[in-house]
């Protein structure tokens, strides 16, 4: 297990290096640079003054030099400074966004997993009942609507119209920090975010449990007179969970990138919003830094998923 983990981490670092080069190249292909983004066309500045600013930021250097200079600093843990916000180190900026994003996505995944598995099991057990069909329709509708639309409607109903929930942000500005305040801000975006994931998990859970329920050992257990409840929870569920765990694992990896739509509608200070802004303003160091941090998270989470897999299913040997 140890050597397996070590090898995977080694491959992972190589991957990160390649990733940083790839994103560096992609970024230089985007039209305009951070200085172009800095200038309001209504209050323009002359190209020669802009050139001065570019020299200041080292953007006039040949590209390979720029990359190597970045890499040299990055391996020592220094991801540089944001260009749009001169005084803010990229690492702090990215790390300060991971907390809120993990909180939002984590809550959404918890809601989605609990709801998804519960509904999936009920649907599988009561197959083709009215309940099952209405859940299926709801799940499909959840998968079929754009996330931002449900977010906008949810925001309008719960916040603007009835004022039950804050309209956005993570904490009430100026107020003392409190868990209640945080949860109050969290619940609406997290629930809206969970709908699509819950729908997906429901469908996987239902299909996978149906398949397992047809297996011989389940029949044996039933034949032995084990209560149906135990048949499902003890025998079937454990095996049916396998594909669902993989699914959840892959969602977690993606989740760290943030949910751009929910974050931008709810003004949630997470990674997605940071990235949208950084790409709009061509803030190269922020995008490079965020790519590295998220990439590393994805690699670690994938590794953890594989290990979890091995724990749930003893037949699988890693290595």
């Amino acid at each position: 297990m140890l050597s397996f983990t070590f090898r995977r981490l080694l491959i992972g670092s190589g991957m990160l290096l390649a990733l940083s080069l790839l994103i560096f190249i992609l970024l230089r292909l985007t039209p305009g640079d951070p200085i172009d983004a800095y200038i309001d066309p209504n209050v323009p500045m002359s190209p020669s003054d802009l050139a001065q600013l570019r020299i200041q930021l080292g953007l006039d250097q040949p590209l390979p030099f720029q990359y190597l200079a970045w890499l040299k600093e990055a391996v020592t843990g220094n991801l540089g400074y944001s260009i749009k916000r001169f005084d803010q180190p990229v690492l702090d900026l990215v790390l300060s966004r991971i907390g809120p994003t993990v909180l939002l996505m984590g809550s959404a995944i918890v809601i989605a997993v609990v709801a998804g598995i519960a509904i999936g099991v009920v649907s599988a057990v009561r197959r083709n009942s009215v309940l099952d069909i209405s859940f299926s329709v709801f799940a499909l509708a959840g998968i079929s609507s754009p996330a931002f639309l449900s977010a906008l409607i949810g925001l309008y109903i719960f916040s603007v119209r009835f004022n039950w929930m804050p309209s956005g942000g993570m904490l009430t500005p100026g107020a003392e920090f409190s868990i209640g305040d945080l949860l109050h801000h969290l619940i609406l975006p997290a629930s809206l975010l969970a709908i699509a994931q819950a729908a997906l998990i429901t469908r996987y859970m239902r299909a996978s449990l149906l398949e397992v329920l047809n297996q011989d050992y389940v029949r044996t257990a039933r034949a032995k007179g084990v209560y149906e409840f135990w048949v499902i929870t003890k025998h079937a569920l454990r095996n049916a969970l396998l594909p669902v765990v993989t699914l959840i694992g892959s969602t977690i990896g993606l989740a760290i990138g943030g949910a751009i739509f929910i974050e931008s509608v709810f003004n949630w200070p997470g990674m997605g919003l940071l990235l949208v802004d950084a790409v709009e303003t061509r803030d190269y160091p922020v995008i490079m830094g965020a790519t590295l941090v998220i990439g590393a998270c994805v690699i670690v989470v994938n590794l953890l998923t594989d290990i979890t897999y091995a724990v749930i299913d003893p037949r699988i040997k890693v290595g």
Binding site: M45, F86, P269
Partner: protein, 528 residues
């Protein structure tokens, strides 16, 4: 970092909380706190704390920093702020500022040495100052005594006072130890800045909000409010949701969202001149616009009045040159009334069918608001009616700048732009966009206007040292623009802010770049 640990513990606790009861939610902030989206919209600059690097965002910055001079609240004349008075010598080359008695937030006195220090920083591009280029004319800055600052110029400059309003005074005792080239990256700006304004910096919660507290020693009197909060929003729509939910009391609002607030007693709509003239810029390097008749045809083809009435809700003034202010527009300008038949006739006379015909012309813009999309659709339809086939293309700001500021642009990508240019409060602002000497790379004359009459008129206006004759000179500029059409000038639109009617004595105006102007934040108050 402190926030991060708090967050992770919050995460852990949140997980535990899921099973237990949710405690009572905290009450919203107290009444003496005013929250707003002060950096929402075109005049704002969220996340920037450094006035030297500020291209906008002055509305907020001027609640805790102060310049020597600023515009009054109507943006009509320049008045003293940290300077109790100022004098300009007859040759327009020596500016003498008499400084007011003021204290920094840490209790130290504000002196002419601070002012000199700030001016030197602002002139030095190494400090990251975006004002350096505009202060090039300054040859020396002297502080003969603690209360006097003398600024000398190489040559008279009509725009020096305007530039000086953007120079926020910085404390020498706090910043002099930091080398100029390290200054921009210093964390001082967003952690412990001190100014002389009515509010003191309290804290910045990364990308969520900035909190200020009252500066009880403020020389203009103790502020009525205890706290001032500037919340960050990804876009105006999110700020409007917060305003309507009662979480903030003020924000900038896009004009198409104004009707929601117009008939609502809980809100007051503040309307003001944007000081940005919108135009259709002809790329004069493209052969298709050479003939003046074609440019006139474009003017006659667009029903500006209909667009203003329906899309802008009447809140814009037709522009027949870069200006709309009465004193700058001569009586006899051509109004270019909407007349599609005349437009067709002009195009025919010019031989448009041979010059371009119905080949698509890219109409480039950096305006991405819903309103702009509607305007572009209307312009496209109106031009199509007379036989000019334009295809709107909205791009983000960096893409736009990289195309139009490129010294050798690809003309096929860039034949026409829908853009805006600041035209006030200093009417000389338009010079950079139209003077032949400002063609890239020298300056941002993005339409590549090469019109000797216009350049001469602009130079004459900028070099005019006799203040009484300046208006006349700018009228001349207007006249040339109106007849030669370097742009198809469209209109100057109003911009809006919406404030809760609970807020009293609130002063705000949609100034370009957010000001600075005299907003007297110390007088703002909040009724129960």
């Amino acid at each position: 970092m402190n926030r991060l640990t708090r967050l992770s513990s919050a995460l852990a606790v949140a997980a535990m909380m899921a099973t237990t009861a949710v405690p009572a939610f905290t009450a919203p902030a107290k009444a003496a706190t005013l929250s707003g989206g002060f950096d929402v919209g075109p005049g704002g600059f969220q996340g920037n704390f450094n006035p030297l690097a500020a291209t906008s965002g002055f509305t907020w910055l001027s609640t805790y920093y102060e310049p020597l001079i600023a515009y009054d609240e109507k943006l009509q004349k320049v008045v003293g702020v940290l300077a109790s008075s100022y004098q300009v010598s007859d040759d327009q080359r020596t500016y003498t500022f008499k400084l007011a008695d003021a204290k920094w937030h840490d209790g130290q006195p504000f002196t002419a040495k601070d002012a000199k220090f700030t001016m030197e920083l602002a002139k030095d591009a190494k400090s990251g100052s975006v004002l350096a280029a505009r202060l090039k004319a300054v040859s020396s800055v002297e502080a003969p005594d603690d209360k006097t600052l003398v600024v000398k110029l190489d040559a008279p400059s009509a725009s020096l006072l305007d530039t000086m309003t953007k120079v926020m005074m910085l404390p020498e005792h706090a910043l002099s130890k930091i080398p100029a080239d390290q200054l921009a990256k210093n964390t001082w700006w967003s952690t412990s800045p001190i100014g002389t304004g009515p509010f003191k910096f309290s804290k910045y919660v990364t990308d969520q909000y900035v909190e200020l507290t009252a500066n009880t020693d403020y020389r203009g009197g103790k502020p009525v409010l205890e706290k001032l909060i500037n919340r960050y929003f990804a876009d105006p729509a999110a700020a409007i949701a917060a305003l309507r939910a009662g979480e903030i009391q003020f924000t900038y609002v896009d004009s198409n969202d104004v009707p929601t607030f117009k008939d609502n007693d809980a809100f007051k709509v503040i309307e003001g001149d944007s000081f940005v003239v919108n135009y259709l810029g002809f790329n004069h390097d493209s052969p298709i616009w050479k003939d003046l008749k074609i440019r006139q045809a474009v003017m006659h083809a667009i029903d500006r009045n209909a667009i203003i009435q329906s899309l802008y809700g009447g809140a814009a003034k037709q522009a027949n040159c870069a200006y709309v202010a009465d004193q700058l527009v001569p009586k006899d300008v051509d109004p270019y009334a909407y007349d599609p038949e005349k437009a067709k006739q002009l195009l025919e006379e010019a031989g448009w069918a041979e010059i371009n015909g119905d080949k698509p012309i890219t109409l480039l813009t950096y305006y991405t608001t819903p309103l702009a999309a509607n305007v572009m659709a209307a312009v496209q339809a109106m031009l199509a009616q007379v036989g000019i086939n334009v295809t709107p293309r909205a791009v983000d700001t960096p893409t736009y700048n990289s195309i139009v500021l490129n010294p050798t642009p690809d003309v096929s990508q860039f034949q026409m732009v829908f853009a805006g240019l600041q035209n006030g409060p200093d009417p000389g602002s338009i010079n950079v966009g139209l003077n032949e000497k400002q063609i890239p790379p020298a300056g941002p004359n993005v339409v590549r206007a090469r019109m000797p009459d216009l350049t001469a008129a602009l130079d004459a206006a900028l070099g005019e040292t006799d203040l009484s004759k300046r208006t006349e000179r700018y009228q001349e500029v207007c006249k040339v623009m109106n007849s030669k059409l370097p742009w198809g000038t469209l209109w100057v639109a109003n911009r809006y802010g919406v404030v809760s009617s609970k807020v009293k004595d609130f002063i705000w105006t949609p100034a370009p770049g957010g000001g600075p102007y005299q907003a007297h934040p110390e007088k703002w108050s909040l009724a129960e």
